[in-house]
């Protein structure tokens, strides 16, 4: 305890700090380039965004230092308290928040804006770490699921009410943490398949999807169980029903769609299969049939939601993302401009301050959500590779850091940090290069704005603090 200060400095992962500072400075330079204009050439001009970003950066450095200096207990012991405070703020913002772009997600105090959702991520990560570190969590206990569900779900629900799709999506990143902590891979796989089914049900015809589900179901069942006879009988039942329904439809001039016929026959024959599985005690068959029925039901509901529940602009946005619609003037305009900016950078870029696309306001939100465009245009492929490379380095560094923690608390928190960064970078960059839909979400350390810069700083430096004192904490 004598050399406490010295210990602390030596315990800090300086490499991460350097990467952090480098990213923040690159971000600042790019904000300068993005909003640069002839009248305000000075990077320290406080009337411009780069000037105020400098103040925000200075404040972030102070915040980082404070976090390193304060007692660790502030974060570990009072994790739930912080979480509760953030939940309150999220509730409060729904009442007194300022509406920006249709979402009530900002507190405005004078010229200063604060986005509680950004800080709620930190609090949620702490709370999750606290809960999972408090006892030996096993993912076969339903109460565990419920509590984890509440910790992650509560802020999600409040953010959904704002609504802020970007921040909402980031909370899904906690699934990576849960996976690391033992959540069965089947859950992630199931979620992934749901995603695939969701997209295909928008892209392909329902007839094709339903046929594939049913056909693949029969083949997979026969293949994995070797019960060819039963499969054959089942298929006979299914085809007989289909034929019967088709005949009824044809004779009665009902004009039923084929996918209704196939789906209906499968539902009827599926009930028969369930009965069989109950009496012959083939448990696998029951869950398999239920899974297939669920898939069919999901397809139909996605179709219904897409065509009846979604707003026109949401539908358009989705269509553009899926390549079903190309409209450079409409919703796809931003992405198109963003890709033009990045694409025009070439290998080496146009050079510092030489970008025309980002500078002349072709790219929207150029200093915030689309800041990556400036990197792409002025620094080219070299610049984008370096920035993405730095982020990857940071992510892997955090994973390594996580794995060397002795407490579950620290590990869970570290993975939370990695996952949140990963989602932010992946969604933001994916959006600018046209791989993901336009979801307003900042690029960590780059995007202009205090809330995101500070919350990412807090997120990272709590981790660095935890890491520096990893030897003090025992589980």
């Amino acid at each position: 305890m004598i050399n406490r200060k010295e210990n602390m400095a030596s315990g800090i992962d300086w490499i991460t700090v350097v990467v952090y500072v480098v990213l923040v400075l690159i971000g600042w330079i790019n904000i300068y380039a993005a909003v640069y204009n002839e009248e305000h050439k000075n990077i320290f001009d406080f009337s411009q965004r780069y000037g105020s970003q400098m103040i925000l950066i200075a404040a972030a450095f102070i915040i980082a230092t404070v976090i390193i200096l304060v007692d660790l207990k502030v974060f570990t012991v009072s994790a739930y308290l912080l979480y509760g405070a953030c939940i309150l703020l999220l509730m409060l913002v729904l009442v007194v928040g300022q509406k920006v772009n249709g979402a009530r997600s900002w507190f405005r105090i004078g010229s200063f804006g604060l986005q509680p959702a950004e800080f709620a991520k930190v609090a949620t990560a702490l709370a999750l770490a606290k809960f999972m570190g408090s006892e030996n969590i096993k993912f076969n206990n339903s109460s565990t699921f419920v509590i984890i569900g509440i910790i992650i779900g509560l802020p999600m629900l409040l953010i959904l009410l704002q609504p802020d799709a970007g921040s909402l999506l980031v909370y899904l990143s906690f699934s990576i943490v849960l996976f690391r902590e033992g959540l069965p891979g089947a859950f992630l796989l199931f979620g992934f398949m749901l995603g695939v089914l969701f997209i295909t049900s928008l892209l392909l015809s329902k007839l094709l999807i339903v046929s594939i589900i049913v056909g693949a179901g029969f083949v997979a069942f026969a293949f994995f169980t070797g019960r060819y006879r039963e499969t054959g009988l089942g298929f006979l039942l299914f085809s007989g029903l289909s034929l019967l329904l088709w005949a009824i439809s044809a004779i009665g001039h009902l004009g039923l769609d084929y996918y209704y016929i196939i789906a209906a026959s499968f539902v009827v024959s599926g009930i028969a299969f369930l009965v069989v599985s109950f009496f012959r005690k083939i448990r696998f068959l029951a869950s398999f049939v239920l899974f297939l029925l669920g898939a069919i039901l999901f397809t139909f509901s996605v179709d219904y939601v897409f065509h009846h529940a979604l707003e026109e602009h949401q539908r358009t946005r989705m269509n553009i993302l899926l390549g079903l619609e190309s409209d450079p003037l409409g919703m796809g305009y931003n992405v198109n401009q963003s890709m033009i900016a990045i694409g025009s950078g070439g290998v080496l870029g146009k050079g510092f301050l030489q970008g025309t696309q980002t500078k002349y306001n072709f790219v929207p939100e150029q200093s915030t959500d689309f800041i990556f465009c400036t990197v792409g245009e002025e620094w080219g492929f070299v610049g984008t590779s370096v920035v993405i490379g730095l982020f990857l380095f940071l992510l892997l560094r955090i994973v390594a850091m996580a794995e060397r923690q002795r407490s579950v608390f620290s590990r869970v928190y570290a993975y939370s940090v990695a996952s949140i960064f990963f989602f932010h970078v992946a969604i933001n960059v994916g959006m600018t290069i046209g791989l993901l839909p336009v979801i307003g979400i900042p690029l960590p350390f780059f995007s202009y704005g205090g809330s995101s810069l500070w919350s990412f700083t807090v997120l990272l430096f709590i981790l660095l603090k935890l890491d520096s004192s990893r030897l003090e904490l025992f589980r």
Binding site: F179, T356, Q357, L435
Partner: protein, 603 residues
């Protein structure tokens, strides 16, 4: 050890895989796919074309005929469009939302990156209002250009008009872009390359809100527009105007030429139209209306109308007869009410008989020239009628008939002189002779001669044997010479002495006891010849060709009055008044002039 520790590798793999996918994507859009670079160039640069003023057109005395006025076009660059308040926009420009939709669709069809014309020729006031509000409508900007203006409503056909270049032109000539103007007819067409000048371009940097952020690279790549060359035409504006005034109630044409140079002094095509009708936004509607007009005002008669030359052709037959030695000044033929052959007769009017050559020209005896023509075609020297006719045909062609004169006025037609082959086909080979085609002797039958060819004949006779290709442009600013083809002297196969005989006949026609006596002027010796072109569709056309003064002629002309009957009634007075107007600048016979205005068109 944590049982799930190995999952760190799966998680790391997800991170790495995502980054790799992104890097591949970045490599694709930044390095491989070049279309983004192209898009970027057009995105932030606005190419503002600097349209040069079109060359001004003057008459031979330096009077301005056609000049320019500033006009404003609203341009659209589809890629820069953003949703805007259509109602306000439409009110501002006085257009319908449908117009906006349709024209944006058109523009996008052309190119989403390039600008194209959205609304043509808005007024200066609308322009001022729109410019203020323009920031609200990204993707739109205003382009200044010039429109033709006319000092007087004259010479519409000769000047021609300017219109937008169509797809075919744009495809063939890359100089023209959608919305550019090009000369479509008249000298606007034939002197397009001189008149148009050279477009310039200003490259501006603009942001997505359509705000100009400065010039690209300080204007290093800008080019300035070069104004079109001014044209000085050979037209005499007041003579042209006077001709159109005289013939205001007639259909027909006047072509007046300065014989010593081939310069066209006046080229009247009636009925005519106000050239200003074919300029500006209502051009299409006006053009359609003119096209529907049964009087065919768009028809450029001086170079496109083919008429039989009538008795004026007797002059050429005289030259051929003299040259071939089958005719002399002392040759006399009697006329008993016409030319009798077989049991048919080609009628003549009542006059003393027999006549010598000069008198026959002056009073235009049909029988006399039937004899002349017969003696040419049936000349024993050639052995056959076909050979004789071929000889006659060659002389006629050499005179400039049956082919384009290759003037600088576009749309000239060949006219028609029947060939031996034609008659072989019509009558059967060896089944025809001079008598079968005797109407050629008095300029009727299958002959088709345009007024400009006719005027050129008058000029050739005035020159006693040569002509310069008639042309309407005298001088192009910045050029030392006009096309050398207008400086080339064309000679005819007849000696000037033979012409003197014809000239004497023409002098007598006006000043002696001839058919054109009504055109006589006390102080100016006019030589002329009347004609009447048979018209199977209605009343005959009245024709007069003339030149004056007799020696060192300053003007030669051909006048056609459609359905005017005898040459003497309408065409001679008009020709005579035109000559007086040109040579003296004033009119001594107001009564004759006013009578011309009483003409009633018979359609």
């Amino acid at each position: 050890m944590n049982p799930y520790a190995s999952r760190r590798y799966i998680i790391s793999a997800i991170f790495i895989a995502t980054v790799l996918i992104y890097l591949l994507r970045l490599a694709y859009i930044q390095i491989i796919d070049l279309s983004y670079k192209y898009s970027a160039e057009n995105n932030s640069r606005r190419y503002v074309t600097q349209y040069p003023a079109r060359g001004v057109i003057y008459d031979r005395n330096g009077k301005m005929i056609a000049y320019n006025e500033a006009a404003y076009d609203i341009m659209v660059t589809p890629i820069q469009l953003k949703p805007f308040d259509t109602t306000e926009f439409c009110n501002l420009l006085n257009i319908t939302p449908k117009y906006v939709r349709d024209n944006i669709r058109l523009a996008r069809k052309y190119s989403i990156y390039r600008s194209s014309v959205f609304l043509k020729q808005i007024s200066a006031e609308t322009y001022a209002v729109f410019e203020e509000k323009m920031y609200k409508y990204p993707g739109f900007f205003v382009q200044t250009r010039t429109l033709r203006k006319y000092q007087k409503k004259i010479a519409a056909h000769v000047l021609g008009y300017v219109g937008e270049a169509d797809d075919n032109v744009i495809k063939k000539e890359p100089y023209y872009k959608m919305g550019d103007y090009i000369g479509i007819s008249g000298i606007e067409k034939s002197y397009e390359t001189e008149l148009r000048g050279k477009k310039g371009v200003n490259i501006l940097l603009v942001d997505v809100h359509n705000r100009v952020k400065g010039s690209f690279q300080n204007g290093r790549f800008d080019t300035t527009a070069v104004a079109g060359a001014d044209l000085t035409t050979s037209l005499d504006a007041s003579l042209q105007e006077y001709g159109e005034y005289l013939m205001q109630n007639m259909s027909g044409s006047i072509v007046a030429i300065e014989p010593s140079t081939g310069e066209i002094l006046a080229m009247v095509s009636m009925p005519t139209y106000d050239p200003a009708l074919l300029i500006g936004r209502s051009r299409a509607a006006n053009y359609a209306a003119l096209q529907r007009d049964p009087l065919k005002p768009l028809f450029f008669r001086p170079v496109m109308a083919k008429y039989p030359p009538g008795s004026t052709f007797k002059l050429l037959n005289t030259l051929i007869g003299l040259k071939e030695g089958v005719l002399s000044t002392e040759t006399r033929y009697s006329c008993a009410g016409g030319f009798h052959f077989g049991n048919r007769v080609l009628k003549c009017h009542n006059h003393p008989s027999p006549l010598n050559l000069t008198a026959a020209i002056a009073i235009s005896c049909n029988a006399y020239f039937c004899n002349v023509f017969r003696s040419i075609v049936e000349n024993r020297e050639f052995g056959s009628s076909e050979a004789g006719y071929q000889q006659w045909y060659d002389y006629v062609k050499a005179f400039g008939f049956g082919r384009k004169l290759n003037s600088d006025v576009p749309n000239e037609l060949n006219g028609y002189v029947p060939t031996v082959k034609y008659y072989d086909k019509f009558h059967g080979a060896h089944h025809w002779n001079a008598y079968s085609i005797i109407s050629l002797s008095i300029g009727q039958g299958e002959l088709g001669i345009t007024p400009i060819q006719m005027a050129n004949m008058a000029a050739t006779i005035a020159n006693r044997g040569y002509y310069y290709t008639p042309h309407v442009v005298k001088k192009i600013r910045g050029r030392t010479n006009i096309d050398p083809r207008f400086k080339e002297k064309h000679t005819t196969p007849f000696d000037s002495t033979l012409y003197s005989i014809v000239v004497e006949g023409m002098y007598q026609a006006v000043n002696g006891a001839g058919t054109a006596g009504i055109g006589r002027l006390a102080d100016i010796p006019i030589c002329g010849k009347t004609g009447t072109a048979q018209n199977p569709h209605g009343e005959d056309h009245s024709i007069f060709i003339a030149f004056a003064p007799r020696n060192n002629p300053k003007i030669a002309l051909a006048v056609y009055v459609e359905n005017g009957g005898f040459g003497a009634t309408w065409a001679v007075p008009i020709g005579s008044l035109m000559i007086e107007k040109y040579l003296k600048g004033s009119i001594s016979r107001p009564a004759l002039q006013d009578r011309m205005l009483t003409f009633k068109r018979k359609i």
